[in-house]
């Protein structure tokens, strides 16, 4: 505890004698981000505390606070509990566990480090994936007394899944097994077979003691049988991902089109792979147009070259269309474009995956709407077994097919994390509900093309002398949707309009007879009805639909399928008590007595429209009046 000041002795001498030389040295330090995996029991927080302490990153006042806290709540008796230095939020301190991702900073004479500290338990899988997503290296901690555990397997699998290329197997608490080589070798051999089954080909095992500092900053004299580097030595020299990225073909997702005046137009973004210089030929994706680079601008002005990791503005010789979300790429080695994919999803949301529901998908600077198909399988994170699954709940990992509403520029996650990694965002709550990694584009999306029809939808509608539309009724069961929809249908028919009524019950006898009433089935049912309604509007028909359609996300999905103004949402607003009192089909009675599961309004939610095009309050308006109002809205005053 004598030396509590910052930096190594050599660095301090340099700082004291030649601060400019030191700053010059610091400028050229590279940054390594890594993650520590393990539980508090394995000494994970102790290891991080030790790294900070050994690299002299703990100040006197922090140390004083740490000593006070150690005595108050620590688990190490009179010794310093390094774990307290690392565990952040008040609630977590009390529980003695870390429940989030905390980032810690330290530096040595050769490198700067950011370490992501995440909890080890299975219920925090999403936290670990988050921390791992930005890491170049993972330290997998093992308690030498316990050896390879289920969680070791899980952590290794997750680190591998997220594409971390450098794994360190830190066999900790070697002091408690007498620095025994035999014990070390047994654990390494056990781990090798575990790693093989996951697909990990390379890792570095080292015997350490975070508590006593052996093989942390310097090689320990207690492990003469170990020839490898100390942990810090290894962290200081391991190759960085960003350096590897520089040798790959050029890619830059366009973040912003910089157009301050008519004379200048540049495309700004972060280069995620390769390098670029004036004179290079680039392809703009998805359009596929090419042009020569005329200028490469950095904050310091024109540059002769820029490389992966730099944020730059690129000017092209030709005036070609390019906007945010497009990708600039080396013309001869451009990434692919597709709208259907297979991907691994790590579910992070409180609400489970609803197959068929549209989510926002954000990949690099592209944001599109995407629907996910039911998982092909879920992966048991402890055994790597593939399990059948209908959905994914929080912390579940599965493989799914997904479709985007327009083609996106991508690469497989393995090739490029920036163009293969994405997040899913719930359209209503705006929560980030999943992280995903693209495997490949589905062949059908590349081979199935849209067949252009010679007769346009306008021509078809014109022949019927009408404008196609979708009158979408939504409301609780028994609210009066079908009654009013039927009246509207009859009125329009009398006016020689070509209509068709899609009724909820009828559809479930045919098109959707394979579906039940769970949330995911309701979503799929509405998707099918939406697709049918779209085909019918293409044919020029006025479509009337009467479905409970309880979720706003799916109503919005159908609205998005149609041309602007074509989708007319009609909210048949009947209070639950009133609908239940009427109970025309006797369904509420069944639901109340438990004979009917997932009944909307009772055991399943109904999300009322916030801004329906037409709002019918059935407690104030008769069905006939409502029908007249709707027809007038569609056709105009009669």
């Amino acid at each position: 505890m004598a030396d509590t000041q910052q930096g190594s002795a050599e660095a301090r001498t340099l700082i004291a004698n030649d601060i400019d030389a030191y700053l010059q040295q610091h400028l050229h330090k590279s940054l390594l981000r890594f993650i520590t995996c393990g539980s508090v029991d394995d000494g994970k927080s102790t290891l991080i505390g030790r790294l900070l302490y050994d690299s002299k990153m703990i100040y006197e006042d922090q140390l004083a606070l740490l000593e006070a806290d150690s005595k108050r709540v620590g688990t190490q008796g009179q010794n310093i509990d390094f774990a307290l230095l690392v565990d952040g939020l008040a609630a977590e301190r009390e529980q003695g566990i870390t429940i989030d991702v905390a980032y810690r900073f330290f530096s040595t004479d050769r490198r700067k480090f950011i370490v992501a500290d995440t909890p080890g338990h299975e219920q925090y899988t999403r936290n670990m994936v988050t921390g791992a997503s930005t890491a170049d290296l993972a330290v997998i901690l093992i308690d030498a007394r316990k050896g390879v555990l289920t969680q070791t397997r899980r952590h290794s699998f997750l680190a591998h899944l997220i594409g971390i290329r450098h794994l360190v197997l830190a066999i900790n608490k070697m002091d408690l097994v007498g620095f025994d080589q035999g014990r070390f070798d047994t654990i390494v051999s056990d781990y090798r077979s575990c790693a093989d089954s996951i697909g990990i080909t390379d890792f570095l095992a080292m015997p350490i003691s975070a508590l006593t500092g052996d093989n942390i900053s310097a090689r320990s004299t207690k492990t003469p049988w170990y020839n490898g580097p100390s942990l810090i030595e290894h962290l200081e020299t391991v190759p960085l991902e960003i350096d590897a990225a520089q040798t790959r073909p050029f890619r830059m997702p366009v973040q912003w089109v910089n157009r301050p005046d008519l004379d200048f137009r540049g495309f700004s973004g972060l280069i995620c792979a390769g390098s670029v210089m004036p004179g290079d030929t680039l392809r703009v994706l998805p359009s596929g147009l090419t042009s020569l680079v005329s200028r490469v601008l950095t904050p310091d002005g024109d540059a002769l070259q820029a490389i992966a990791g730099q944020s730059v503005t690129i000017c092209l010789a030709d005036q070609i269309a390019c906007s945010r979300g497009d990708v600039l790429a080396a013309a001869e080695a451009a990434p692919q474009i597709a709208d259907q994919f297979e991907a691994t999803l790590v579910w992070m949301g409180d609400d489970q995956l609803l197959a068929g529901r549209p989510y926002w998908l954000k990949l690099a600077t592209q944001t599109v709407s995407a629907t996910i198909q039911p998982p092909k399988y879920q992966i048991n994170v402890n055994t790597m077994e593939r399990l059948a699954a209908k959905t994914l709940t929080m912390n579940a990992i599965g493989v799914c097919n997904l479709a985007t509403d327009r083609p996106i520029v991508f690469e497989s996650y393995e090739e490029n994390h920036d163009l293969g990694g994405f997040i899913l965002i719930d359209k209503l709550t705006n929560a980030t509900v999943a992280a995903g990694m693209l495997h490949f584009a589905l062949r059908r999306s590349q081979n199935v093309h849209w067949q252009a029809l010679d007769i346009s939808r306008e021509a078809r509608a014109g022949m019927k002398n009408q404008r196609p539309a979708v009158l979408w009724f939504t409301g609780l069961s028994g609210a009066g949707k079908s009654t009013i929809a039927n009246l509207v249908d009859k009125r329009l028919h009398r006016m020689n309009r070509h209509t068709f009524l899609l009724d909820g019950d009828n559809i479930r006898h045919g098109l959707s007879r394979d579906l039940g009433f769970a949330d995911a089935d309701r979503v799929e049912n509405i998707r099918r009805v939406g697709e049918v309604a779209r085909l019918m509007t293409d044919a020029g028909i006025i479509v009337i639909t009467a479905f409970i359609s309880p979720f706003s996300a799916e109503r919005q999905m159908v609205r998005d399928m149609m041309l602007p103004g074509e989708f007319i949402e009609i909210y048949v607003d009947t209070p639950l008590a009133e609908a239940e009192r009427r109970d025309v089909k006797g369904l509420y009675k069944k639901a109340r007595t438990g004979q009917l599961a997932n009944f909307t309004g009772i055991a399943s939610a109904y999300e009322p429209p916030i801004a329906a095009d037409i709002h019918i309050d059935t407690t104030k308006m008769s069905a006939e009046d409502a029908a007249a109002l709707i027809v007038e809205y569609l056709i105009g005053p009669v």
Binding site: T4, Q5, Q6, G7, R12, I15, A16, I19, D20, Y22, L23, H26, L27, Y59, E60, D61, Q62, D87, G88, L89, A90, A91, R93, I99, D100, V101, A102, Y103, R104, F105, S107, K112, I114, R126, N127, V129, T130, S133, T134, L270, M348, W360, K362, L363, A364, H417, D418, G421, F422, I423, I425, N430, A431, T432, A435
Partner: protein, 231 residues
């Protein structure tokens, strides 16, 4: 500090909006009579919330860093606040890769911390490399000071009521961090140039927040303040 602020705004052509909590002003809230907690809450936390509401800002940028303080280590780069500016540390969006989810609901606002992953040394280093002007209080100069409750406080202002037995003494001091006056203590220093300041920072044995009275109010005090809407 104010003079520096006005000059930077003027020279860069930025529109500077100054807001003060009228209640704090009317009641004459000051740290000497009301304590640092009330003072910080009314002037900084409430004042900021009122100003954000008044102008309907969607986004407020801040310079907070994760290396500053334990509760900041878990702060997101895009940190969401409810319509009444509450921070819910248990319900934060995961931030993966370089992907930030910036979608927000009506009324919500975002505190964005672009230099979250910088360290104190990185900041000084950048200021040095880019020759960014800084407030003179960061540089050492002879200033009248008193020592109180373990902090070295500067007395160059009529707002500062001296306690019995206190006589200001001229000391060569500077500030490592500028919180609100006079809650931030000075340190004795002779560092009058930027390289000297960096040199001193690197050789220092205490963290920069050590000089801030507000962190010592109670255990986990920063986390609590942040939940209430403090920057």
């Amino acid at each position: 500090m104010y003079e520096f602020r006005d000059r930077v705004a003027r020279e860069s052509g930025m529109e500077l909006i100054v807001y003060q909590n009228p209640e704090a002003k009317a009641r004459g809230i000051n740290p000497f009579e009301h304590g640092s907690q009330v003072h910080t809450d009314l002037w900084k936390t409430e004042g900021l919330k009122q100003a954000l509401d008044l102008h309907n800002f969607d986004v407020a940028f801040g310079g907070a860093r994760r290396d500053e303080e334990v509760s900041r280590a878990k702060e997101r780069v895009f940190s969401f606040r409810s319509a009444n500016h509450r921070w819910d540390p248990k319900n934060q969006r995961p931030e993966l890769w370089r992907l930030y989810n910036t979608k927000k609901a009506q009324g919500q606002s975002i505190r964005v911390f672009p230099i979250s992953n910088w360290t104190e040394l990185d900041i000084w280093h950048y200021i040095h490399l880019q020759a960014i002007p800084i407030v003179p209080l960061y540089f050492a100069a002879p200033r009248p000071t008193v020592r109180r409750d373990g902090l070295l406080l500067m007395v160059d202002d009529a707002r500062f009521p001296l306690r019995q037995g206190e006589t200001p003494v001229m000391r060569s001091v500077r500030f490592r961090t500028l919180g609100c006056y006079p809650l931030t203590g000075a340190i004795e220093s002779k560092a009058a140039t930027l390289p000297e300041v960096i040199q001193e920072t690197l050789l220092a044995s205490t963290s920069e927040r050590q000089g801030r009275a507000i962190d010592h109010d109670q255990a986990a005090s920063m986390e609590k303040k942040k939940q209430d809407g403090y920057f």
